[in-house]
Each structure stands twice: as structure tokens, then as C-alpha cells.
Amino acid sequence: MNRVVITGMGIYSCIGKNQEEVRRSLYHGVSGIGLDPVRKEYGYRSALTGILDKPDIKELLDRKKRMGLSEQGQYAYMATVEAFRQAGIDEAYLQENEVGILYGNDSSAEPVIHAVDIIREKRNTALVGSGSIFQSMNSTVTMNLSVIFKLKGISFTVSGACASGSHAIGMGYFLIRSGMQECLVCGGAQEVNMYSVGSFDGLSAFSIREDEPAKASRPFDKHRDGLVPSGGGATLILESYASAKRRGAKILGEVAGYGFSSNGDHLSVPNVDGPRRSLEMAIKDSGLGIKDIQYINAHATSTQIGDLNEAKAILHVLGDARPYVTSTKSMTGHEMWMAGASEIVYSMLMMQNDFIAPHLNFEEPDECSALLHIPVQTVQKEFDTFLSNSFGFGGTNSTLIIRKCHL
């Protein structure tokens, strides 16, 4: 079976529009969370959100390439340009090789709502315009990026709720490991607009700590009161070790293991058993021992039951090893469909630069998080293996283990 390595990364998020900006934000513990006041005008319970500028895509792509690109597609495009550049993959390579794309995305609400508004008002579907359908489909990111970059390998979208980005990397890992594909664009993207989170807001799932936006996302803290929605785009270039060596690409890391499970339980309430099995499968797949895992990027979104049950699962599986545990969502909010991919990028940046970013707003632990090794200050630490959890509605769970590539 082929070894699967990472040769490129790209990130466009509320804590930075490229790797260097994000690295700085991670190191200094900078929050990307703010308020979108318009949400209050529309009766939203919470105006809290990750704050990020839309890229000036008109300067980069012609009309035909832009017209089908949704908001999250634009974020994914920016991240993928950065990732290809780092991987040393250019147009000529893409023309001559079957590079594919597997990207996590699980909604495209804004263009759907705009289209429906026009149809209701005008009673003429043509006035929706030609781009709407290509922006509205769940596969909007993969269909657009595969055309823009002229990709010739596999292309489909992975919709696994808030584990979408993580599962996309896991599926890519399987395809490359089995030899079906040599090189893939994997990642996750999430739209950041009020339409995309209206019904989620209605579940009272979001923090309402609006007077202190930077303190609103507080995973594992006893006084957490809900998540903060966020988003952007994150891309990884996965390829076989042989392909990377043949191209002379710099190998940034290796996908060592992937685990998954479903809770078989409740639509929105997570349990302990599902995440536990996902963790155990990933560790078994990697062939590593629990003491090899030095850092865990937790799924922990800042909800009471979700964080509690993840802490229990981590303690059950890795309690004896006691690795550092943080949730970068304390800085970014919950990047949902994107989170499983962005959190690999964040953790990779930490591993490459020998630090663990501070876990913000962890002021008072609960009975389980008190047993986790959660640093509230930046830790200078060289480490070579980390694990990242991503869980989603419907009880879908994904766990990835990444390590520095040892020859």
C-alpha cells in the first residue's frame, strides 16, 4: 500500500488569508470572531460569527470561471492556489496528470435563497441567471475547482456535516493508499453568511456572549454557552510518497491514520461511544501507540454536551498518554464543513513551527476537561505526531492522525 503524504497547504480563514498570517494568529492566540449586526435585524438570537473578507476574485478569474463560484468556492479557490503553489504543481502538471479533488461541503444556502427570492418576485426562472445552479449545489466547490484548475482525476464532494473536511481527507488517503489516485486536492469549505446559519441559530446552539466576541468560543470551559459559526476554505495536497519523491516535492507531513464511526443514536446530541470508536480505529490504522500522539486538535465546539462527551472519549482512549489537547475553535469559531480540513492545516503549522497554540478562554474546567492537558499559553514544543477529531450532526465521526514524514 502507498504511503500518503502532504506536499501543499492553503488556508483562507478568519484568523488569516494565508499560511503565514494564520501561523502568526495561532502563535499569538488571536481571535477571528466578531459580530454581524445585520443578523439581529433579522431576529437572530446571536450575531456572533467568524469575520473574514471576501477575496477580490474578479482580479483573479475571468467571468466564465467566476459565475458558478459560490462564496465558499471562492475561499476554497484561494486556499487551493496557495496549496498548489507550495506543492510546486502548475498548469502543465495538471494537464499531464490525473489530479483529483475531494472536498468537504454540506450546504450552499445563500445562492439558493437569492434564487428563490427572484423566482417568487419575478415568476421567471431565467432571471435567476446562469451561475445560480452551479453555486447552489452541494458539489459547488468540487465542480468549480475541477473546471478552473482543469483537473482530470476523481471529483466529488464529501458531505458529512461538520466532519466533511476531515472525511474528505480520509477518503483521499484511502484512494492514494490503494493506488487508485496519485495526487488529490482535499479540503473543506464553509460559507459565512447569515442565511447559512439561520436554522442553526434557531436551535439555540450558538453562544450569545455578544458583549465579548473574542471570549464567546470557549471549548471545554465550564461556562461555555454554545458555538460560534465561522468558515472559509482549507486545502491540502495529498499524494503518494513515490509521486512526491519523483517530483522532488517537499514533504510536509504524512497521513498516518484515519478512523471513523457513526453514533447510530441522535440527530444532534453526540455520545461517547461513537467518538471513542473513531479514535480507536484511527490509532489502530496508524500502527502507533497512544504515547506517540503528542497533540490532539479536538473537535470541541464550545457546546456543553459535545465538549463533555469528547473529553470522555479522549480520556478513555488516550487518558494514560495525556497529550496536549486544544481546540483551535477557541480562536476561529466552528468552521463546520471546513473545520476538519482547516484544523489539519492549523495543526500542521504548529508542528512545522514547534509550538502549540494557546487554547483561548479556558478559565474554569468542568469535571472532565480538568483531566485534559489543555495549555492556555503558547507552548514551545517540538512534536512529530498529532491527532484531529471532527464530529457532525447525525453522529458522524472522523479522526485523522498526521505525523512528520520519516524516511
Binding site: D62, R63, K64, K122, N124, A126, L127, S130, G131
Partner: protein, 86 residues
């Protein structure tokens, strides 16, 4: 025959929407090739005509249009027709 003001407005809107140098738009130039239009773009042409000229058309209405002059005449005749109905 469409008036100069209408022609200038049409040229400006087409150049903006389809990101073409306005200097390339000449009455006898082929519309589809000059603007590099495909079937999807004709849908956006319907939107453009509705937004800027208040006309409700279908993509197939453009089937007989070969040149920009044909387009000017087409818009002009429908604008006049629309005004008469009002």
C-alpha cells in the same frame, strides 16, 4: 433604427457584463463570437435585458441575432413595443 443613446447604453452594459473591451463592439461585428457567448451566457443576456431595459425575453429570442446591429434593432423594437403597450 436604434438611437445613439440606446446603442451606447447597450454597448456599455454588454461590455461590463461580458468583460469585453468596448472598442471591439461594432455594429457589423458578430455578437456571439465577439462577446464569446455560450448557451449559459444567453441566460445572463436575458437577465441583463430585463435589468437594464425592462424587457422580459427568453434565451431563444436571441436565436436570429447575428450582429450587434441585429441586437440594437431587436432591443429597440421591443422597447418601442413595450412603450406602446404602456
Amino acid at each position: 433604427m436604434a438611437n445613439t443613446e440606446l446603442i451606447e447604453k447597450i454597448n456599455q452594459k454588454l461590455a461590463e457584463e461580458f468583460e469585453t473591451d468596448i472598442e471591439r463592439i461594432r455594429p457589423d461585428a458578430p455578437l456571439m463570437q465577439t462577446l464569446e457567448l455560450d448557451s449559459l451566457d444567453l441566460v445572463d443576456m436575458v437577465v441583463l435585458v430585463e435589468q437594464h431595459f425592462g424587457l422580459t425575453l427568453k434565451a431563444q429570442d436571441f436565436a436570429t441575432i447575428k450582429t450587434f446591429q441585429d441586437f440594437y434593432d431587436f432591443i429597440d423594437s421591443h422597447v418601442n413595443e413595450s412603450n406602446e403597450q404602456k
